[in-house]
């Protein structure tokens, strides 16, 4: 995704901002500002190691050798993350990043991972050594029991999408290895490149909402805006083929997006369902493929929103044979500490890092779930009009 932005919009100025949708988690009370700054400063001191660079240059991703072009790699090897702006406001932190899009976008993962891990450490800080060990023992058992359930559903394909909101790096690494041992070929990879490298796994991923959000914000008028979600995918398909041609249709409403989509998009490999009721959205996609003369059984549907083991099995049973099904399992894979600490103080929560403006214009996300919408009210109204989004069903956002 970074390479696509680097190629197509290298000079776009963006602002990314951390948003804690779970206001009951008082991050600024839990995490010391000085320690947070130390962590963020440390990230700014990092660059690709030689081994990491070698791996990115030499590895085959999605069956493609040298996915990363030499000019991109040369830039990436010299990259240091840009400055951050941190301010405490009440019990929360305001954390924003401004600068060129290909640089700023890389803050999302470390910023979220740092805050999630520091919150966990704050909660664990006063526990006894053996109390801690038992807490992790329980978390391991809890995850293992999920994996055991999944193991009884042959044919599943699941990837780890849990980097951003993981409990901790070591914990994510443990979860990935446990999945690998127990699920075998049903575990198809991880979106964490370092873990993929260390554990000899497939690095896996798709494109995200920031692409259409920034493209949309850059539109000069309503006509350009209406076209923006397709323009971004035109740019995308110039360099990606096969399983990287996955549509993320929900940024401004899945139904309208598909109805107005150009025919070439129906030729893409699949779709990722990331908000709203997943079964409904998958049915919409299947109908759309049929309407466009495509064979849904050859299409890939990737579910990635709020998944847990029972939902995975339910969706798999519902759609297997009708489409190819795959799962990007995130927060409830790498951060399910629900019920394990007093007052559920280790339960995962909904922290995101989003593009909020591009070249001075605010970004907007509508989503298929109005609780995931963001942007200024008047812009949301405009986008709803342009994208012809009607009534939406609100669903609680757990993670």
């Amino acid at each position: 995704m970074c390479q696509s932005v680097f190629r197509n919009k290298p000079d776009t100025n963006v602002t990314f901002s951390l948003i804690n949708r779970s206001s009951h988690v008082p991050l600024a009370k839990l995490i010391d500002e000085g320690e947070l700054r130390e962590q963020l400063d440390h990230v700014r001191s990092l660059s690709l190691t030689r081994g990491e660079s070698t791996w990115l240059r030499g590895n085959t991703f999605y069956g493609k050798r040298q996915m990363f072009r030499p000019d991109f790699m040369a830039w990436f090897e010299n990259l240091r993350l840009p400055a951050y702006h941190l301010e405490r406001v009440g019990d929360q932190y305001e954390l924003t990043f401004e600068g060129k899009w290909p640089e700023v976008m890389l803050w999302e993962i470390p910023a979220l991972a740092i805050l999630m891990e520091m919150r966990g450490r704050a909660v664990l800080h006063d526990m006894g050594r053996f109390e801690l060990q038992v807490l992790y023992a329980r978390a391991m058992t809890q995850l293992w029991e999920k994996v055991e359930k999944l193991r009884n559903t042959p044919g599943l394909r699941i990837a780890d999408f849990g980097t951003r909101r993981r409990h901790s790096f070591l914990w994510q690494d443990w979860c990935v290895q446990a999945m690998l041992e127990r699920l075998g070929p049903s575990f198809v990879g991880t979106s964490n490149c370092l873990i993929a490298k260390n554990r000899d796994l497939e690095a896996i991923g798709t494109n995200a909402h920031e692409l259409p959000m920034v493209y949309a914000a850059l539109a000069q008028n309503d006509a350009e805006l209406a076209q923006a979600p397709y323009t971004v995918l035109e740019d995308w398909q110039e360099e990606h083929s096969g399983n990287l041609r996955i549509i993320l249709p929900d940024t401004y409403g899945t139904e309208g997006f598909l109805q107005r989509a150009p025919d070439w998009l129906a030729g893409w490999t699949g779709i990722r369902i990331d908000s709203g009721d997943p079964a409904t959205a998958a049915e919409v996609a299947i109908q759309w493929w049929k309407d466009r003369g495509e064979d849904p059984t050859r299409k890939l549907v990737i579910f990635s929103d709020g998944l847990d083991e029972n939902k995975i099995i339910e969706l798999y049973e519902q759609f297997k044979g009708r489409v190819r099904v795959s799962f990007g399992w995130g927060t409830l894979l790498t951060n399910d500490f629900r019920g394990l600490a007093p007052n559920d103080s280790l339960a995962p929560f909904s922290l995101v890092c989003k593009a909020i403006s591009a070249n001075g214009r605010p970004t907007v996300k509508l989503s298929d779930n109005p609780k995931k919408a963001m942007g200024p009210a008047e812009e949301i109204a405009r986008y709803k009009r342009v994208f012809d989004v009607g009534q939406q069903d609100a669903m609680d956002v757990i993670v």
Copy 2:
């Protein structure tokens, strides 16, 4: 106990033998004979380290400095364990030790611990790395939940008596540390001297059945036999006072033992209940103290047979205030892997190592539970007559 034997019966020849009361556990199928010999040979190569010797010489046990006399320590420092005799018979091993009592008696603990640990390793051998970790995670959680229950019963006093039939050394060490962290002063020590040394805990223990069993076997006639269980305690009290003056009354039946006991024995600090129904035995002891004009509330009752957390709490609630209560928690502390492996193949089982003869005469144990009785049938009959043991209730031996 070894020092007492070293002082009083140094030249008695004894045979100890391993007895697997759980014939459904086919030790010889699970454990390779060559590997078992390697372990036993290794034990024979060991002697006290300088640090261990320093600790034994310098430590205060039961409030007594220099519990171990210089002549005993000099002998102990030079000791190597005597030869063993190992033979496979069907699916079991016959493992016996012959020689002088103070030397042979020290085989019991390592022989049992080795067999228990090798059996566990055999079962774990083919498990995956993360499957293994989850198995231990579950065992930790299981133990922690027991400890949490005990924690809600203030005033408890519990010691670790789980060395012989532990799952493994590392596991026992973990259990002890978990108890220490969570129970605080309710955890009063361990019978494992190495762990006591390493973790700065009280080393704790009592006397065992082998003392009266060997003394009884050495008796020249029925009159001496009837006296033997008291003779051994006369010898014992020459060097031990306070909380080491604990009667183990059940070797030849608790009731008869107490009825015929000399008055000086009622002056001892307490009693250890190790077979039969523990509450019944404790009531018998309380009544006996009352009959002998002693105040039971100043006496110590140590329960040590087949304990688990619910039994501990039940007995504590029943006897607190009426006597001082303490618990020696053994196998279900350090080896409760019930339900954690396929076919329950890690469940603890009843393996013992007992004196079976002394100076060529067979030993006999009657116990308060006929399922724990041992010895030749005609000798059991003679002992029952001499000790006037009537009807006994059989109780299943779990561990």
